[in-house]
């Protein structure tokens, strides 16, 4: 499916289940999403992390609603499954779509200005470098006898300084590679939204509406 359409669909469904209280629909969404990512081959470590990390907020919500809430155990379960529904819906997008394809379709089909599409992509590709930079900043602080934690403002001050420098360098590099804002470009890989994409999008969206309408538990 076209990554842009997929993202839109996931966001729409996630929004809807935020305002509805159907436990069964949540479970169905989790099951379907799970099946989808399994078909697309997910490794077990990722799967474990996907189940493990949301457990804390999900359990927290569950327990507080169950013990202290007024809406009862059913709503507690809704909240619990809702967290997992978000996670697995998100996973259907993040684990199976490439960020490159997403920016291509955003640029070509969704008419996003190319500087945003490629700017975001370039920033995304810088992530590993940013992680290294944070490590350097922390070590350098230790050498001056300071311990920087994730909440230290000075860590962010330094990180932001570096980011400004990098964004400047990156803009220069993109320019020297011929990139000019708002100028027409050719496209090696043309991504179109096909009739199939539309069909899948509409069918799935309607299916969720129908389920939400019919299944109230």
């Amino acid at each position: 499916m076209n990554p842009g359409m997929k993202l839109l669909l996931v966001v729409l469904i996630a929004l809807e289940i935020s305002f509805t209280q159907s436990l069964i629909v949540n479970v169905i969404l989790i099951a379907v999403s799970f099946a989808y990512v399994m078909v697309k081959r997910m490794n077990f470590k990722t799967l474990f992390l996907l189940v493990f990390w949301p457990l804390f907020p999900a359990l927290g919500l569950f327990v507080s609603q169950w013990l202290y809430g007024s809406a009862g155990i059913h709503f507690a379960w809704v909240l619990f499954t809702r967290i997992y529904a978000y996670v697995f819906l998100g996973a259907t997008f993040t684990l199976t779509s490439s960020i490159t394809d997403l920016s291509l379709t955003l640029e070509q089909d969704f008419r996003l200005p190319s500087k945003f599409a490629y700017g975001v992509l370039a920033a995304f590709n810088l992530m590993p470098k940013i992680r290294e930079e944070v490590q350097i900043i922390k070590t350098s602080a230790l050498m001056r006898g300071e311990v920087f934690h994730v909440w230290s403002p000075r860590l962010y001050f330094k990180a932001i300084l570096s980011s400004i420098q990098w964004s400047q360098n990156l803009a220069e590099a993109m320019t020297s590679h011929g990139f000019v804002e708002d100028e027409p470009r050719t496209h090696y890989k043309v991504i179109r939204i096909t009739a199939l994409d539309w069909t899948v999008f509409i069918v799935l969206l309607i299916a969720v509406q129908v389920m939400l309408f019919l299944i109230r538990y």
Partner: protein
Amino acid sequence: MTDVSITDFTYQYPKSETKVLNNLNLTFKHNHFSLLSGPSGSGKSTLLYFIAGLYPRFIGNDATGTIKFGQTNLKDIPLNQISRQVAMMFQNPNQQFAMDTVIHEMTFVLENIRTEPAKMDAIIDQALTFCGIQQLKSRIINTLSGGEKQRVALACIVAMDTPVIVLDEPFASIDPGSRIDLIHKLKELQEKHGKTIILADHDLGNYQGIIDEFYYLDPKSHRINLLNQQEAQHFFDNFESTQTINKQLNLPPKTDAQSILKLRDFKLSPHDSLLLKLDHFNFYKQKTTLITGANGIGKSTLFNALTKLLPYTGTILYTDKNIKKIKPLNYAKNVTLLFQDAENQFLNVTVKEELDLSFANRFNQDYTHEQVEQMLTKLDMQGRDDQVVYSLSEGQKKKLQIVEMLIMNPPVLLLDEPFKGLDYKSLRLITGFLETAKTKYGQTQIVISHQLSGLEDLIDYHAHFENQNLTYQGVI
């Protein structure tokens, strides 16, 4: 014909009195390989950025004078046409790609210059083949070594097929093999494909017999001179002679007794390529060890391993304790790095705050405030308390950085190119301070430096980095 002619060209940074480039009049000739040399920080990059059409767009103010490509004023070329005329390769291999993989970056480049999609595959394959990196086509750029990244950068330039190619210190952080190879590729582009090549480098190694013209940016007059054969030869010879200072040194003792850092079965291989393999190597207490070796060979990477910034295999022992078992803060207090980039060391905003931080957190009380004040005065750094550290010149940043790390006074100080961009007088003052730190306070110093002259008195041992090995030498 695309001569790049520069007329009455003057530039000064905003809020600065000195003209970085002072009334330049010169022509980089069509289909020539021109080398532009001069000390680091003298303004070579600035000129190249103007030629590549990146300045004044990415800098606050414009220069006076003109740059012409053939008969066309650079300013009259529309933005979307500049990259048909000139392509640029940058110094930092890590910050010139927008996309994730090599093939994506190359298609991005071709899309920008509006190449027909049907022709792209052939152009990309040709460019990769020319640069000898077909096997890197689908690789993720972040996982490549510096040398590989610069080859990819060249492949992008080859694919763009611009008549003028500008390179800003492109080999500053890549291995010697890649350097030689890339210089020859550039020569081939000039001779067989009619390109005009303008390359800035302060390191003159491997250019003799390759370049057609040698330009020198004089740091005093801020002008560029075209050197004749004889003058060029003089510069090359001079460069050769600075590669050694012919000082006899003792070899370190064979025993482990005086050693402070010990490397055992040590292997360093980032990006899956082996940089260094040491079965048994010691750094010695209260000595200054100089490490030399070609650019990009792995010297700074070794420092990164010694400061636990990079993973390695084997063992590093600090005073007989495995450094992996020492707590990070505790280890950082004992083995401290003077970063090559001074800004990495700064945590605060003004000079005073920076110095106060060092005084507040120092590991011992060896230096008095008066001593530090004296050091600053000697280095001509006094009375700058309220200045923002990031607004200091590169040389001043370096001096401040060194003083604040002297105040910290750690038992082991690793110094990565501490003298880069410093004038000779400051260099001698600083070697004096380091000598005191060593003899009076017992500091162990390990120095990476390309600059050798002026260090004669400080250096006790010299280790040379070559062929994935580090060996002590009897001479510098």
